[in-house]
Symmetry: D2
Subunit: 357 residues, 4 copies
Amino acid sequence: MVVVMAAEAGEQEIDGVVDLVRAAGGDAFVSRGVTRTIVGLVGDVEHFSTLNLRSLPGVSDVVRISAPYKLVSREHHRERSVIRVAGVPIGPDTLTVIAGPCAVETAEQTLASALMARAAGASLLRGGAYKPRSSPYAFQGLGEAGLKILADVRAETGLPIVTEVVDPSDVELVASYADMLQVGTRNMQNFPLLQAVGGVGKPVMLKRGMNATIEEWLMAAEYIAQRGNLDIVLCERGIRTFEKATRNTLDISAVPVAQRLSHLPVIVDPSHSGGRRDLVLPLSRAAIAVGADGIIVDVHPHPEAALCDGPQALVESDLRELASVAAHLSPLVGRTLYLLGGINQPPRPPVRAASRR
Amino acid sequence: MVVVMAAEAGEQEIDGVVDLVRAAGGDAFVSRGVTRTIVGLVGDVEHFSTLNLRSLPGVSDVVRISAPYKLVSREHHRERSVIRVAGVPIGPDTLTVIAGPCAVETAEQTLASALMARAAGASLLRGGAYKPRSSPYAFQGLGEAGLKILADVRAETGLPIVTEVVDPSDVELVASYADMLQVGTRNMQNFPLLQAVGGVGKPVMLKRGMNATIEEWLMAAEYIAQRGNLDIVLCERGIRTFEKATRNTLDISAVPVAQRLSHLPVIVDPSHSGGRRDLVLPLSRAAIAVGADGIIVDVHPHPEAALCDGPQALVESDLRELASVAAHLSPLVGRTLYLLGGINQPPRPPVRAASRR
Amino acid sequence: MVVVMAAEAGEQEIDGVVDLVRAAGGDAFVSRGVTRTIVGLVGDVEHFSTLNLRSLPGVSDVVRISAPYKLVSREHHRERSVIRVAGVPIGPDTLTVIAGPCAVETAEQTLASALMARAAGASLLRGGAYKPRSSPYAFQGLGEAGLKILADVRAETGLPIVTEVVDPSDVELVASYADMLQVGTRNMQNFPLLQAVGGVGKPVMLKRGMNATIEEWLMAAEYIAQRGNLDIVLCERGIRTFEKATRNTLDISAVPVAQRLSHLPVIVDPSHSGGRRDLVLPLSRAAIAVGADGIIVDVHPHPEAALCDGPQALVESDLRELASVAAHLSPLVGRTLYLLGGINQPPRPPVRAASRR
Amino acid sequence: MVVVMAAEAGEQEIDGVVDLVRAAGGDAFVSRGVTRTIVGLVGDVEHFSTLNLRSLPGVSDVVRISAPYKLVSREHHRERSVIRVAGVPIGPDTLTVIAGPCAVETAEQTLASALMARAAGASLLRGGAYKPRSSPYAFQGLGEAGLKILADVRAETGLPIVTEVVDPSDVELVASYADMLQVGTRNMQNFPLLQAVGGVGKPVMLKRGMNATIEEWLMAAEYIAQRGNLDIVLCERGIRTFEKATRNTLDISAVPVAQRLSHLPVIVDPSHSGGRRDLVLPLSRAAIAVGADGIIVDVHPHPEAALCDGPQALVESDLRELASVAAHLSPLVGRTLYLLGGINQPPRPPVRAASRR
């Protein structure tokens, strides 16, 4: 931590900073410049940050020079992590495709979507039973009935389930059905929720807040990690900017940046970032090429009747192309598309799938 | 709702839109332009929005032309509302000052802050017992112990209490102490929390999400209103932009814009938007002059030792100026500064305060 | 300037930084922390910034700790400046109102607008003869014919003229008519234009770029100042954010922030920031209350027929209210509304106006 | 164009809109909804937009439903265009790599950079002789001396030249040396400059403004096209957002979006968007995979001594990887990397290169 003194700060004010830091058990080194003096602090940064050094007389700025997260940082864990979701890996050597309907509506729609997901090369099924919607008048999800549909479809298709949880008091219930819990973009700084999913023992997919910096995103992951759960996958899903041609602006650079700062896997959601079906394939290609550890896409058998986000769902004709893109681009970035039951094989029968979990 | 057809759309595709809307119980009027055709829809807009008209062949765009919120809209409730918090009004004729420490730390600090608040012209006391913090290593608040301190200080000073709630399962507990519940910026789209505070029978202060449009803010208020609670005060606290000279960018225009769209009172938080003590007074003046129904400011007896947001807290020497600003600017915008027991008077004894609530 | 070393940097890499800085004629002080080392640099910061220290092995970050502008900085010029435009002051003791039509269309419209401007309390007339428009199919201004109209109206009303220049090769021509040159938001980083207006000897109003940080705005002013022209007035006119309810987001905090960093006057354009007539008065009140040194507003005798920005122009009925607001709010922030020839008096005859300039 | 009436608008106000539009030579169709009426306009949209319909009584909103650009629009020119720069194609079938130093500093540095560019698979050489810099104290480019160096290096290496122009009065001079003119991000709405490059008969690379919407970018291209020059290449280079981990946020979605709206080629600048050398390769991969028609990257023989943007320049060891990425990814998106003189061959001797141009 570095304290930048104001140009007009005198010796007394510099001493004030040094004394306060030393009283707090740290040490301080003074560098006198031509127009300004800076004070470098040595010791417990978390503690220093409670000292409100910025409010001391003569202080112009306080600059933090080390990252405020630890458990998820790559500084202390150089190797990039592989997270396993019911056996399916997400990490540096593989490309993992997650697909499914935005919302679980019926058993038929969910099963049809799961079969589409497998055709698209997916090894995990996404689907929402609890939906955070901007309008109280919009479809809010089926709740536990939706979770049961997901479990039935998993039994039938062998695809482990990723599903969202929005209320801390639902975490245990959702975790009893899901293979991976999703924390959505609007909940990235819902700290009671982060703590609850940190305590439940299932992998977590943490979507980036639409207004969150990469640092805040990693701090949110740190909340989960601090409760003992390091099975976290980060998901870039677009940020909010002035540009309205797309629903959000996919921050493709966030993938390599987050991978350099953290050992956690980073995947991309091209469906929610673009908000348009015609952008899903180009953005999927970009995500794989930039080095994402996976992608998560919306599919729906009848997007024109979808209760949620129909306009961005892939349809049958897109699936083969997505599977082909995923299979052919992966090797160029040193990865293998991870497939349940091997590439080019029919979905495994439900019995094997069930035993796998 | 208006459906804009693509330039190349044919009769069949136009008919497709019209038929679908009529089948859904609505009506559709076709306007043929030189290069494009538009279809105006009449009927239940909420229902139309589930039709995914945008995914129909030949459709270029779908434009919503009426607001998606109803209960909080001024269209159906022309008069601006007055919300009462334990008797203290927030509305079009008054200016209400809310002040207090960002976080409740000790009984002494809270009482000292409350006395500072009164000196600054405040009629409501703010103070957080549950703090949403970006870092899991930062002070998270005292919890119920903090609520008890607030209640004691209310008894002593007569100031009704505004305090934040972050977890839906805490709403009843917090409501049993508080006079007004605060929903913070990070929770503006925490829908289970909105629904919980909508059901509990205490006024709610809803801070704008730092990335939320004014429309989304009003939709969040609609979530609360839909549960039967229309005692909502909107609080503008700055949005996130590219500019980093201030912690957030105070969107001062949001005050008149929201007041035109909604009948709910709108107040401003100059402390969190600027994030710097030296901006609190100028931004308070701007907020009052633009027509805000109130302001909420941080005060702290010892900002240099504050456990939360010390750099933006007002200190003793600022209070008289704030009180003067609030008293003298209000009449220029047709308001009266609302004071508990009159300006320059000692705090009313607890008995009167208690009977008032 | 501070060089932050990476956690894993060794002695050799630290020495590399120190040696390079000393070879460049500066000095470097090393502060060793528990996990990192920082190196504070002393000497010519501009020169250091060409050393690309960030690309040296072992360097994690380079942090600049003093402002990159000098001539416009308040560090070296503590007193806030008063700029005079044909005698009309803009500075810390006055409130100066600038008003007029967005674009000069006809002599009649310009004269009518100028009379409206005087009724609104204005002492300077704005009006564009060269208009930067997003569309090549939109009205681009009358050019020199417009400048002549402005000069005629000045002769008739006594109001000095503020008008925009968009091409460096037009600067001399425009300066031969104008009392103050305006550099528009899209040209804030048009460096040849900044240099041209810096060399011409007329005061300059520099609008903030809609995407510019306050620091970049001051750097743009530095470009003008560096050519010998320190008669610069900064104009905040809204920045581009995700919020689309207003044309731009007025960054009201930029006024006190820029005033603290620079000695130059700062005014506000409430018309272009809001883009809506109904917001001009509230935002004018906010601008005056926050401490702006002036405001600049659009007026038009027939907004429904304006060739440019009609929707935001004030009309007759608004003028008296604006004048009243300006007169009554100013004293509360220690200012006097500056009036040509006194309030409620007829415009001064052209002869006096001409002699005044 | 659609006029949305206010909920409370009466027949007289609806008639007012219809009458005004018909008086202007257009036609208007009225669709009456349950709560609102909309009026669809038929005729000359540009003319309608001067009517200020929004300021009429009873009008709530006016929505434009067709694009405001024409010449660059794909609506009237379905096939995507191929632009040729001294014979080098940029278009839908090829991938064109442009590389070179940010700024021309010396003949040696420029030649070395050009050889690096060829090694990286580039067929065009970039290099700035006129540099727009935020600070007046930063290196501003060599001017015409730099153009001469570029011409010499072109003669020696056979690489056609892309170089920036910042002042309308320099356009002829720069065009006499350059094969392609670059308009930089800060000048995207410098309309006199756009018009000047539109009139000079050389291809133009138009960088997206860092704050410009895609629509504004296309409008800027329309300015150039309207002067008779349709040889325009659009360049996405990152937009300004709240995220500061990268210099700008590369809006990767802008590539497919702009390609759908316009027939012009779209390339990507991964160097300026990321601002960090370690991001250039990942972002180049993303750009190629998303479907960009080319990329433009900074190279420098000695980045640690570069006078401009050293931290983002590729160095020798990166070149082979970039060439390999460009060669191997292109076929997966149906393109061929365009190479001067054939792949894997040494640079053609100057004689052939000169005859080619």
